[in-house]
């Protein structure tokens, strides 16, 4: 067996481990092992690559890798940055970390395509080869720049609200069309200098594409950028002639696209609405002043609620991102455990878009040692709520807003929600009467079943724990 065949077999092995890793994610039990298998597969691929010949064509076998020490040095630099960052970042900061790791992948794919173009240009490559390169550069760079802006938004280096300016959609469309025109020109002329312009234009496109997308829509955005990087890697795979890159890139592309669709569906909006409508940009107008139309709310003390919970037999907790902001997950879990010790059934109802990336709330609760059997998906949760005594809403708002099902004029109409109002009693832990991200009044707050407890979620939960203990 020739050396190249052996290396290709090892690549095939790696591609298989990637598929196994995704299969492992089918259940929390096997997921971790799957991830380790994929990491091993990746290591095999990297080691095998060190022995690969490059630049072979015809009967010429090519030469072994140049700059081996440079490669090792670059890997070392990457390693000493990545490991501590990945190890020590807090779980609430996970979305921005995923965003940035996604972005650098897109950047690498773009650089690979770009360099390969410079490399093969002298051999007058076929048009489809140039097209692959251009797509790799375009998609990879958009993903890189877009992820960087998403990172800045999540890290609060800039406002999380949609950034809008007059003529935004026209300008974005023009830049997009400009990139298309440039691609066609390069296909004809195979000009390297124009390729640099495409690189710059793609960067601008990535930035202006993400600017109008608001914080609450970031789960959709991150999924989409993930898909972009996958596709950019697949495009590089075509250029380099590597099945491994194509398989890995397409797997990621498929997962990103699937998650993007799931997330938009969970918001009850189309993908184009999420991407282009600058949703939530008017929040400041209606959100700053709470409309007081004479309806009254009932508020209670943490102690009242502690007693109420103590006499329930089934409690469903509906956490939102506000819980994570208040760092209340651990106290919440303590409360849940206390209630369970009294023989009360406790579940957590998780809305798919709670948090800043798909499934984020599950990770935050898992970090607080909540067993995953207690985490219910939306549909399951809604059937449990019908027989629940108390729905405890902590730091969530829009995801329980009945306007999504009742009021066709509401901007969130059509969004699937958790039906907290099915429970016997609804308890809201809220900082104030301010509406949530979407800036929409929540009628559930005025429901006679509802009790509001104002204050910081963590403090309130701590007091409730004390109250439950005292009883």
């Amino acid at each position: 067996m020739s050396r190249e065949t052996l290396i290709d077999l090892l690549y095939l092995f790696s591609a298989t481990t990637f598929i196994l890793a995704l299969k492992g994610l089918g259940s929390p039990k096997h997921a971790r092992r799957g991830n380790m298998v994929a990491a091993f597969g990746m290591l095999v691929a990297v080691v095998a690559t060190f022995f690969k010949y490059v630049d072979g064509h015809g009967s010429y076998q090519g030469h072994s890798l140049h700059h081996v020490w440079l490669i090792v040095l670059a890997m070392f630099i990457g390693l000493i940055i990545a490991v501590p960052t990945a190890r020590f970042v807090k779980m609430t900061a996970m979305p921005q970390l995923v965003a940035i790791f996604n972005g650098v992948g897109g950047g690498a794919a773009s650089l690979v395509s770009l360099t390969e173009f410079i490399h093969v240009k002298s051999t007058h490559p076929a048009t489809y080869v140039i097209l692959e390169v251009l797509l790799g550069v375009l998609i990879g760079t958009v993903s890189f720049a877009g992820s960087a802006v998403a990172f800045a938004k999540l890290q609060e280096l800039m406002t999380g609200r949609p950034v809008t300016y007059p003529g935004q959609q026209v300008i974005n469309a023009l830049v997009g069309l400009g990139a298309m025109a440039l691609i066609i020109t390069i296909l004809v002329t195979a000009s390297t200098s124009l390729l640099w312009i495409l690189l710059a234009l793609s960067f601008v496109l990535g930035v202006i594409f993400v600017l109008p997308i608001g914080g609450a829509d970031v789960p959709v955005l991150i999924s989409l950028l993930n898909a972009f990087t996958g596709l950019a890697v697949a495009a590089s795979g075509f250029t380099l002639g590597s099945n491994l890159l194509i398989v890995a890139g397409v797997l990621v592309g498929a997962s990103g696209i699937l998650l993007t669709r799931l997330m938009s569906k969970a918001m009850g909006r189309s993908l184009s609405n999420v991407l282009f409508s600058a949703f939530g940009s008017v929040v400041t107008a209606s959100g700053a002043t709470t409309r007081d139309d004479g309806r009254s709310v009932r508020s209670g003390t943490p102690e009242d609620i502690g007693i109420l919970l103590g006499f329930s037999s089934r409690v469903v907790i509906i956490p939102g991102y506000g819980l994570a902001v208040a760092q209340g997950q651990h106290v919440l879990r303590e409360l849940a455990e206390l209630l369970e010790a009294k023989g009360i059934e406790v579940f957590y109802a998780i809305h798919p878009v709670a948090g800043r990336m798909p499934g984020h709330m599950n990770v935050l609760l898992a970090e607080a040692n909540v067993p995953y059997e207690q985490l219910l998906e939306m549909d399951e949760a809604n059937s449990e709520l019908a027989t629940a005594d108390v729905a405890l809403v902590v730091g969530a708002n829009d995801t329980v807003n009945p306007a999504a099902t009742d009021d066709p004029s509401s901007p969130i109409y059509g969004m699937p929600i958790i039906h907290a109002d099915l429970a016997e009693n609804v308890v809201f832990l809220k900082r104030s009467m301010r509406p949530g991200f979407a800036g929409i009044e929540n009628d559930l707050l005025y429901n006679p079943k509802t009790t509001l407890v104002f204050g910081d979620a963590k403090d309130t939960l701590t007091k409730m724990v004390a109250a439950v203990k005292a009883n």
Binding site: A21, H67, I71, N226, P352, P358, G359
Partner: protein, 106 residues
């Protein structure tokens, strides 16, 4: 040349279908690790970056290749480590007393 392209397209189409089938089975509680894990998988661009730097003949290619290897390593290593950290936290219900004591809640 055309046959090679066809072969790659075959791989692409088949992977797209296999991938969609597998990923559709991932439960929503694992969507964050899915995203982060798939993130690590596209770090395989490291292999491409190595080939680029290893085949570089001009300074420009060396610089771009060097950058690509750094970025791709960040992607691979960061991706796998973060995913592992997340998955480590997904634990089944702890059974502090006798293993039969869970009928209280179930």
């Amino acid at each position: 040349m055309g046959n090679v392209l066809l072969q790659y397209l075959t791989v692409l189409i088949l992977t797209a279908f296999v991938g969609t089938e597998i990923i559709a089975k991932v439960p929503s509680i694992l969507h964050t690790p899915l995203m982060s894990g798939s993130n690590a998988i596209h770090g395989v661009i490291l292999v491409g970056s190595m080939l680029i730097l290893g085949g570089a003949t001009t300074n420009l290619q060396e610089v771009l290749g060097f950058l690509a290897v750094i970025l791709a390593t960040l992607n691979v290593v960061g991706g796998f480590v973060v995913t592992d950290r997340m998955l480590e936290m997904f634990k089944p219900r702890a059974k502090p007393t006798a293993p039969t004591s869970d009928e209280v809640t179930t």
